[in-house]
């Protein structure tokens, strides 16, 4: 019996989608008979069989229409098999032979031409166990043993979905059972790769005007890495930020593609102009202008609209250059030892979004490493860079420059033989000198220093060229990889309220209740509550008092004492106490 073991990793929420597409793909290209089983529906063998039968037969009815009703099984009415029908492997076998015979004989109809092409007359029946780990081992064993009896008549293939490791299958099944299986292992792509694809297609592209700021991206990625590894949840976060951006930022109406943004910018209302003037990035921009232009910008709406249009255009251009350069830099640095600028492009992107990347230490060390790169690697990296940069129209001159460099490298190659010879000749001399004066430590030091300085002075052509290339790249980076915050009107495109996102996706109901009880001032901005550190103030809401008193007790609370204590606290200021009953009632429920 064939078994495909499919390892999926721990990102459970994504699995549903994977299996859906898998079974759809199977149905389309291999066999119409695909059954999906979930552990929660299959607590007993009977249910497993029933599920298999219902899915197979119900499915075949829908596929083959009603013309072959009668030969599926006599007493059964159309559609879903009745519950009372005997659910056994034998029934299934009978059904299967009937169906295959029917389709083999040239019956009037159309069906399953595609599937029978691949698998002859007997398309296999595929049973998918979505979450193998949570099936009861006994049920699984029995099912496997029984179906192995019928393997002659019924070409069964199982697919086990495994979240953890393939060893579990041997843990679940005894040797006698697992020997019946012929297991083949498949491994799905790791979820980080999926994430990389998603980021690549959605975030690092100019296709969509909506952008995430560094902090938001960080929040989403940390939720992904530290909580669930679920790409689906990442996408959910992305959706939410998109939604929130358009909901909360009035200027997000300018967040669309270039032509439309321009036409919308022309029709900005006065309020919108005011909104624009309020933007911190716009204010910074205004401050840099000449005084008279400043006045104009602050008073005249039309002027604002014009500037907005040009600024939006600039922003679009900025994005068009930003991503290729980012990729280019990533291509250069991603293979460096220790990955100073990150292994994944999202890390580099995060750094670039936060601040000027060339001011960071990581960038420094990355370039130091690049300066030591061998020629082959460097040329290869440069080639990929030019490939990337070619996509961007505006970066033509950069591409040209790089190509020129590559050519010069190749020229170097040709005359390298000569250079090498010369270098070797040079190199041979100093060691001899050093050997002669072996005893004199001072001399040795001196000569070593000399050699050092000579080496730095006498850079080979290759080294010179390498430096030149890197300077060129550095200048490109400095020109194009500015953080978006430096751009005026970046608020239009960038969603930045990471706090909201975290609150809604990764909430902490526990702390919320705790603070509400401990520190009601956080919620009720009343001066009466804003007081002393530890003492229980009698002004606080009843429930807070009761909670604090309960904290002072141990594991068990004597209700009498508790209530008396409460009454004391309240009565310290006021003269009423029937409330205590109500408060206690509240807390009865909470514990």
């Amino acid at each position: 019996m064939k078994v495909l073991e499919y390892r999926k990793g721990v990102n459970v929420p994504d699995h549903a989608m994977t299996f859906q597409s898998l079974s759809a793909l199977l149905q389309e290209s291999v066999t119409p008979y695909v059954v999906c089983l979930q552990s929660k529906e299959c607590s007993a063998l009977k249910q497993v069989l029933q599920k298999v039968l219902v899915q197979l037969m119900g499915h075949s009815v829908s596929v083959e229409d009603d013309d072959d009703e009668e030969d599926q099984s006599g007493p059964r009415p159309t559609g879903i098999p009745s519950r009372k029908m005997l659910c056994s492997m034998a029934t299934l076998c009978g059904w299967y032979t009937a169906v295959t015979q029917k389709s083999a004989s040239p019956s009037p109809g159309k069906k399953r031409l595609s599937s029978s092409k691949g698998c002859g007359q007997r398309p296999p029946v595929v049973v998918i166990f979505k979450d193998l780990e949570s099936f009861t081992p006994r049920v699984l064993q029995e099912f496997i043993v029984i179906s192995s009896q019928y393997i002659q008549q019924l070409p069964l293939i199982f697919i086990f979905g495994i979240a953890t490791s393939p060893i579990t299958i041997h843990g679940m099944l005894p040797h006698s059972v697992s020997s019946l299986l012929c297991i083949q292992l498949f491994q799905s792509l790791s979820c980080t790769q999926h994430l990389a694809t998603v980021i690549d297609k959605l975030v690092l592209t100019t296709t969509f005007p909506f952008k995430l700021s560094g902090k938001v991206l960080q929040v989403l990625i940390s939720i992904f890495l530290y909580h669930d590894f679920s790409v689906r949840n990442f996408i959910k976060g992305l959706q939410l930020s998109l939604l929130d951006h358009f909901y909360s930022q009035p200027l997000s109406m300018l967040c669309c593609d270039k032509q439309e943004a321009r036409s919308r910018a022309k029709e900005l209302s006065h309020e919108d102009c005011e909104n624009i003037r309020q933007l911190p990035s716009f204010m910074r921009y205004v401050e840099k202008q000449e005084p008279e232009i400043q006045v104009q910008l602050l008073t005249c709406d039309k002027r604002v609209k014009d500037v907005t249009q040009s600024l939006l255009k600039e922003l679009h251009a900025y994005h068009k250059n930003y991503y290729p350069v980012l990729r280019c830099l990533h291509a250069l640095t991603s293979s460096l030892p220790k990955y100073p600028l990150g292994k994944q492009i999202r890390e580099l992107h995060g750094i670039c979004l936060e601040k000027n990347v060339w001011e960071t230490e990581e960038y420094e060390s990355a370039f130091q490493l690049l300066r030591m790169l061998a020629k082959d690697e460097l040329v290869a990296a440069l080639r990929t860079c030019t490939e990337i940069l070619k996509c961007a129209k505006k970066l033509g001159d950069a591409v040209e420059k790089l190509e020129e460099f590559i050519e010069r490298f190749e020229l170097l190659d040709r005359c390298s033989a000569v250079v090498e010879m010369g270098q070797e000749g040079e190199e041979e001399l100093p060691p001899q000198k050093g050997l002669q004066k072996k005893t004199d430590l001072f001399q040795l030091q001196k000569s070593l220093l000399e050699r050092e300085s000579r080496r730095t002075k006498k850079l080979s052509k290759f080294e010179l060229l390498r430096l030149a290339v890197l300077d060129c790249i550095d200048s490109i980076v400095k020109k194009h990889l500015l953080p978006p915050e430096s751009q005026p009107l970046h608020e239009v495109f960038y969603y930045s309220s990471a706090g909201t996102l975290r609150r809604h996706l990764n909430a902490a109901p526990r702390t919320a209740i705790q603070t509400a009880l401990n520190n009601p001032y956080c919620y009720l901005q009343s001066e009466a509550l804003k007081s002393e550190g530890g003492a229980i103030s009698n002004a606080a809401p009843d429930i807070c008092i009761v909670y604090k008193l309960h904290l002072e007790c141990g594991r068990l609370i004597n209700l009498y004492d508790w209530l008396e204590a409460y009454a004391t606290v309240v009565a310290a200021a006021e003269g009423k106490d029937p409330d205590s009953a109500a408060a206690a009632q509240l807390d009865d429920v909470k514990h």
């Binding site: 929420p13 529906e41 939410l240 996706l505 009880l517 530890g534 594991r555 029937p578 409330d579 009865d588």
Partner: protein, 539 residues
């Protein structure tokens, strides 16, 4: 501890309760930043002015009860209250002329806190040390109690107090709370000893607190509370009367939440589901959301806090009332499939589901949450729910979380959980049983005279045995015999069918005894039952 002011002529046999100052509670400042060094102990003591009691006959009682000595210590340093009670053996005094009140001050309290209490410690009390269990003493005197300032001693001679209070309440029964209040005073007693005691680590304190498996609490019970037991209605009336503090701030808070309504609506329609958390009842908020946003659309409101709600009833209300489907389903999964299918076929149908307390007692089960998750995953079904339990998020694993697709919103309201807790019985509220009685009469009215007679027979038998603690019920054979004698039934099958009917109405309960015989009891309080019989008699 009650420290009594003694009259100078203490030798007089007739003891007068001139005044009883009782220290009810010490509230200790336990702020972490302060670290106990300058901890200030606030003693709130209440004086209850008491009139002297002229009756001599009462004195005998006092002496007896005062000899029962309660030592009670509230060690809050380790956040554990350890209440020790010296064995209630009455220790006879040789000096009968000494006022009994002195005896009530326990040794330890007087040693440690003699500065705070006015009772002078006298040598006589040494004899009590031995009565404290050794283990307990060790713990009490262990240096781990962070400091004396933190360990509270609020020993009180509760029985004496009780009696005294009863006397007082006889005199001025209704002015009880009022008389307490004006006498309330605040004393601050700085404690210097605290610095000397080395401060144990939190870890040690924790283990100290949890070292004994047996937790000691004081044996005072709620019965000793003098507040009259109110019934539900009066309580509600009283609570309605009191105005809540910070209403302005609360209103502000609510307004902020209400501003989110449109956002919620948008997010719901875009496929997210919303869960509200935070302190306070979110029922009114959700109701407001419902009335302001959802009136035009189809919605189902589910009260998750209702003690007998089931997933089936939720699904039924969806299939029957929303999808208008007649007919039954074999199990919830089938029903679920049906709902999914129908909603998929009709994408224009937008269904909103409001669940108050999705973490309610009855909805906590894994299966239930699974089904709710499946419901929530339907694109045109929108779910907005609230949670209150502090651990509610634990009931959702990753898979369910992704099904629910929650967006979390913090909505702290500080609203009382009136509706949510209305199904709980408070110990402090008198159970009137009015509800049970009315339902009983209702059911009875629909029965045949014979059936009524049968029930009556059982009720009477139960009332006869109400003082018998080992009463397990009336055995079926016995009952049958009695019914036959009263010409109520002619065969045991008739009786059985009748009993089944009773059982369906939850009027009786059957229990298998040790000998395998069925015993029948009526699970209703005797008071209600006798009321019912009286009423029946009248008719």
């Amino acid at each position: 501890m009650s420290s009594q002011k003694q009259p100078k002529e203490g030798r007089v046999l007739e003891v007068r309760f001139v005044g009883d100052e009782e220290v009810l509670q010490h509230i200790v400042d336990k702020q972490e930043g302060v670290k106990g060094k300058n901890a200030v102990q606030i003693l709130v003591s209440l004086k209850t002015p008491r009139k002297s009691e002229p009756e001599d006959s009462e004195d005998e009682d006092h002496e007896v009860c005062n000899e029962q000595d309660y030592v009670e210590a509230l060690g809050t340093a380790a956040q554990a209250s350890e209440l020790a009670r010296t064995p209630g053996k009455s220790v006879k005094f040789t000096t009968a002329d000494s006022p009994p009140e002195e005896v009530t001050s326990p040794t330890r309290a007087s040693k440690r806190q003699s500065t705070q209490y006015k009772t002078p410690s006298k040598g006589k009390k040494n004899q009590f040390v031995s009565t404290t269990p050794h283990r307990l003493r060790k713990r009490l005197s262990a240096p781990n109690l962070r400091s004396d300032s933190d360990s509270d001693f609020s020993p009180s001679n509760s029985e004496e107090e009780l009696e005294a209070e009863e006397e007082a309440s006889k005199l001025v029964p209704e002015s009880k709370p009022a008389s307490k209040a004006p006498a309330a005073g605040l004393y601050k007693t700085p404690v210097k000893k605290a610095k000397k005691v080395p401060e144990p680590s939190l870890v040690e304190e924790y283990f100290e607190a949890h070292s004994s498996s047996k937790v000691l609490t004081s044996d005072r019970t709620l019965q000793k509370l003098q507040t009259p037991q109110l019934d539900q209605d009066t309580l509600c009336r009283l609570l309605d009367g009191t105005s809540t503090a910070f209403s302005a701030e609360l209103k502000q808070l609510n307004k902020e939440h209400e501003r989110l309504f449109h956002k919620w609506m948008l997010q719901l329609q875009l496929g997210f589901n919303i869960v509200l958390f935070g302190l306070g009842s979110k029922r009114t908020l959700l109701e407001k959301f419902r009335t302001s946003m959802l009136l035009g659309s189809i919605h189902v409101v589910i009260n998750g806090f209702f003690p007998s709600i089931t997933i089936r009833s939720i699904l039924n209300s969806i299939t029957e009332e929303v999808l208008e489907h007649e007919g039954h389903f074999r199990n919830p999964l089938d029903q679920m499939d049906f709902i999914v299918k129908t909603l998929k076929e009709d994408p224009d149908l937008q269904l909103f589901l409001l669940i108050h307390n999705i973490d309610g007692q009855m909805l906590r089960g894994d299966k239930t949450q699974q089904i709710l998750g499946q419901l929530a995953a339907i694109p045109n079904l929108h779910l907005i729910a609230s949670i209150d339990h502090i651990n509610a998020p634990l009931s959702w694993d990753q898979f369910k979380m992704s099904q629910f697709n929650w967006l979390w919103y913090e909505t702290t309201t500080y609203q009382p959980y009136i509706e949510e807790t209305s199904y709980e019985n408070s110990l402090l509220v008198k159970q009137s049983g009015a509800l049970a009685l009315s339902s009983l009469t209702h059911v009875m009215r629909s029965l045949t005279p014979n059936a009524r007679g049968i029930f009556r027979l059982l009720a009477e038998f139960q009332l006869e045995n109400k003082d018998n603690p080992s009463y397990t019920g009336l055995s079926f054979q016995d009952f049958y015999q009695r019914c036959r004698e009263a010409f109520l039934v002619n065969s045991d099958i008739t009786l059985r069918t009748q009993l089944t009917e009773f059982r369906d109405h939850k009027l009786i309960r059957t229990k298998k005894g040790a000998d395998g015989v069925e015993y029948l009891i009526i699970p209703i309080e005797t008071g209600t039952l006798s009321d019912f019989l009286e009423k029946e008699d009248k008719e």
